[in-house]
């Protein structure tokens, strides 16, 4: 057992951390949000070229640095610290992750362009009726034609490709008959309704109407186990992002409690505030521990149980730390003026992304607590 990062992993963290500290401060981020596009292409280009981090989790054969899930964890935590808007999770962790599992010619063709920053992938899997269930699909692929409606697809408006789940056979919630497709985002028959999410990224309702899908677009015919593995990997990475968000929320709130004076002294002198900050600290530390645990178990038989445990713990931590950060800040915490509220918004969305606390506890029970 070893809980230390390698020198390369630490360098990777430091490099991204320095870049974000220099160029991605709160004002710069808010300018991008107000621009309404939900991302900054120049930042993505810097990730690809100046920093070269988009290849961190890909093999050297594909032009990457030979890392994997731990590199994703390291990078995602730093992105959480700066509440980065750009689509690392959907493009590298999900899109790239699916391609790594599939392998073969399509992986050889697409992964280098992900690393170069020219391919950006949006994950079109969840549906309006399906809530958090990846198998609950009304989108169909029949006779080479794709039809359906995907809900809240983050980054679809600026993606080059969509990673789509579609039913080829069976009933609406069957495990069998679910295919995974990678199609051009501008294919004929795709329409979108674009909007911003509450924390400032772009997302879309995506509609498919008789979109022509050839065999070359099908990553896998029976794909549900693959999709679940990829979403587990994405959930672990999301937990890492949450750790970054929560560390900043805690640090910012601690700092505020030391500065803010009421009744003639810093509010951090009051024991009720001290104990709240300690409880927040303990939640953050446990979220970090669970994120490591889940990340390190991604390639084991315990993967799904570990990820659901971690997401349940991190989801609770996100609510507790986020709400109390705002509470301790008082009125200023509910305005747009301070960064704390924006971190709170990101933490809140993470709670339900890839499944709520209840969803993951139920999933864990289904795996581990049979009566």
């Amino acid at each position: 057992m070893d809980f230390n990062f390698t020198e390369e992993q630490t360098m990777l963290r430091d490099m991204l951390s320095r870049y974000l500290a220099d160029t991605y401060n709160f004002d710069a981020r808010q300018k991008v949000v107000h621009g309404g596009k939900g991302w900054n292409p120049a930042v993505w280009q810097a990730f690809a070229e100046e920093l070269g981090i988009l290849g961190a989790s890909f093999s050297e054969a594909h032009g990457g640095l030979g890392g994997g899930a731990i590199e994703n964890m390291v990078l995602m935590e730093e992105m959480g610290r700066a509440i980065v808007l750009e689509p690392y999770l959907s493009t590298v962790v999900i899109g790239g992750g699916a391609l790594k599992h599939v392998g073969g010619a399509i992986a050889d063709a697409v992964i280098p362009s992900i690393i170069a920053g020219t391919t950006r992938i949006a994950f079109a899997a969840y549906e309006p009726q399906g809530r958090f269930y990846l198998n609950d699909l009304t989108t169909t692929l029949k006779g080479g034609q794709l039809n359906g409606h995907k809900a809240v697809v983050e980054g679809a408006a600026h993606a080059t490709h969509l990673l789509v789940t579609a039913r080829t056979a069976g009933g609406q919630r069957d495990a069998g008959g679910v295919a995974l497709l990678l199609i051009p985002a501008d294919a004929k028959g795709i329409t979108r309704r674009d909007y911003l999410t509450v924390h400032g990224t772009s997302a879309s309702e995506v509609y498919f109407e008789n979109v022509a899908v050839g065999a070359e677009h099908v990553l896998r015919e029976e794909a549900l186990p693959l999709i679940e593995a990829v979403v587990d990997e994405a959930t672990a990475a999301l937990c890492a992002e949450a750790c970054g968000v929560l560390k900043v929320l805690h640090a910012t709130t601690l700092d505020y409690a030391k500065q803010r004076k009421q009744f003639g002294k810093a509010i951090g002198d009051f024991q009720v505030i001290q104990h709240r900050l300690v409880d927040m600290f303990m939640e953050v530390e446990q979220a970090v521990s669970m994120t490591m645990m889940a990340t390190l178990k991604l390639d084991t038989a315990e993967r799904s149980a570990a990820v659901s445990m971690a997401k349940a713990k991190v989801g609770k931590a996100a609510k507790f730390v986020g709400q109390n950060a705002v509470q301790i800040h008082g009125g200023i915490g509910i305005t747009q003026e301070l960064a704390v509220g924006h971190y709170f918004k990101r933490a809140t969305l993470i709670e339900n992304q890839f499944g709520s606390v209840d969803f993951h506890l139920s999933r864990y029970e289904g795996i581990a607590l049979a009566a």
């Binding site: 057992m1 070893d2 809980f3 230390n4 990062f5 390698t6 992993q9 731990i70 601690l254 409690a257 030391k258 951090g268 002198d269 024991q271 001290q274 104990h275 900050l277 300690v278 409880d279 600290f281 303990m282 530390e285 446990q286 979220a287 970090v288 521990s289 669970m290 490591m292 645990m293 390190l296 178990k297 445990m309 349940a312 713990k313 506890l361 864990y364 029970e365 581990a368 607590l369 049979a370 009566a371």
Partner: protein
């Protein structure tokens, strides 16, 4: 970063497992299950087996009798002893005063006391709390006045009262916090004394706790004469030892391996307990509580592993150990709540009223038998070792800088 055990670690686990299988005194668990009183030699039976093997004090520095195990090996050791339901070793010598003596003691103190802690020859108790000094430990008033004896040697005359002194009824020695300078401000005037419990003037009186156990005692000290050579570290600097000891005490206090074992036990009970025509573990509300507990226990386990990794890279147990104490004891208590809930109506019969060790009067399932006394007993965990509120004060001050 990875979670895999090396080939050496796997071999070590096998060695530990085989040793426990061949040498653990299994009669102890039968006694506990029957609710029989444990005699002093019962508590020491496993201790002596481990001492013979050389495994009694794994965490100590090798020069004082430690095993030199890695953090991973110590983790494996605690997992395997919990898995086999081995009785807990008394911590007062091994985990508390032992580390204080090898860290702060004189060569004479080390030579005299450490081997006897390891062999089990001396049973230790802890004289910290007083009736007026619980969480506010530094307000303690037990007084030690220095004087020169007729033999020309230096002594302390100790007067005062200690309480919650666990297992003092068996103790040969006690480590005591006493006030040597009443004029100094609170933490400054305290010294750390080792006192022979057979010294005239010491009276031990039992306190019976909610489950009917005699674990804790009041200890009265009336003109107890203690040689100055039995003071550890400098006069009036005992608080340094006290804080060091508490941080050491808190690391083992998380009890991860034992709690993992107890979760498995509760799941087994809940599978075999009927609840409205189905198993209790199929009850969605009970099942959810088990799931949440397992999540929190995994979070504690990996937080402890991260802490241990930090310690093996050179940092001693720091204020972060307060987190392990808080979360570990919360989980231990939740486990006893679930066990009592699973017992249902059979949580009520008081086994001590049925005749000690007399199985013919046993009622209800064995698993229910001691759930209520254990539930009551384990309320102590969030109070002892510095209450969980005090632990939050420690984190606030030492980690958060508040």
């Amino acid at each position: 970063m990875d979670l895999n055990f090396s080939a050496e670690d796997v071999a070590f686990r096998e060695e530990v497992r085989a040793f426990i299988r061949d040498h653990y005194p299994a009669y102890l668990n039968e006694k506990i299950d029957e609710g029989e009183e444990m005699a002093k030699e019962d508590f020491l039976a496993w201790h002596k087996v481990l001492h013979e093997k050389g495994w009694i004090s794994p965490a100590w520095p090798v020069e004082y009798g430690g095993t030199g195990w890695t953090a991973t090996q110590r983790y494996i050791w605690s997992e395997e002893t919990a898995r086999a339901d081995c009785v807990r070793l008394m911590p007062f010598g091994l985990s508390m005063v032992g580390p204080v003596i090898y860290t702060f003691g004189t060569p004479e103190q080390k030579a005299k006391f450490l081997p006897r802690i390891r062999s089990g020859e001396d049973w230790w108790c802890q004289g910290y709390s007083e009736p007026g000094s619980g969480s506010d430990l530094a307000s303690l008033r037990t007084r030690a006045e220095r004087f020169t004896g007729d033999d020309g040697k230096e002594y302390y005359r100790v007067n005062g009262q200690k309480t919650w002194t666990t297992m003092a009824q068996h103790a040969d020695w006690g480590f005591f916090l006493v006030r040597t300078d009443p004029a100094a401000k609170m933490q400054e005037g305290i010294s750390f004394l080792l006192i022979d419990m057979k010294t005239p003037g010491i009276t031990v009186r039992p306190i019976i706790t909610l489950g009917g156990e005699h674990e804790v005692n009041e200890v009265w000290l009336e003109d107890v004469i203690v040689p100055v050579e039995n003071r550890v570290f400098h006069e009036n600097k005992g608080w340094t030892c006290a804080k060091f000891l508490l941080a050491h005490e808190r690391t083992g206090i998380a009890g991860v391996a034992a709690s993992k074992r107890n979760v498995e036990r509760i799941k087994q009970v809940a599978r075999n307990t009927a609840d409205g025509g189905d198993a209790l573990l199929a009850n969605p509300f009970f099942k959810r509580k088990v799931a949440e507990l397992e999540v929190d226990l995994a979070a504690l386990e990996y937080t402890e592993l991260r802490t241990l990794a930090g310690e093996s890279s050179g940092k001693g147990p720091g204020p972060e150990s307060s987190l392990l104490k808080i979360k570990g004891t919360e989980i231990q208590q939740r486990l006893t709540e679930l066990a009592l809930e699973a017992a249902g109506t059979y949580g009520a019969p008081y086994f001590r009223s049925m005749g000690e060790g007399d199985n013919s009067f046993a009622v209800g399932p064995d698993s229910a038998r001691r759930t209520a006394p254990v539930y009551f007993n384990m309320r102590k965990t969030s109070i002892y070792g510095g209450s969980n509120e005090i632990q939050r004060n420690i984190i606030a001050k030492m980690v958060l800088g508040l």
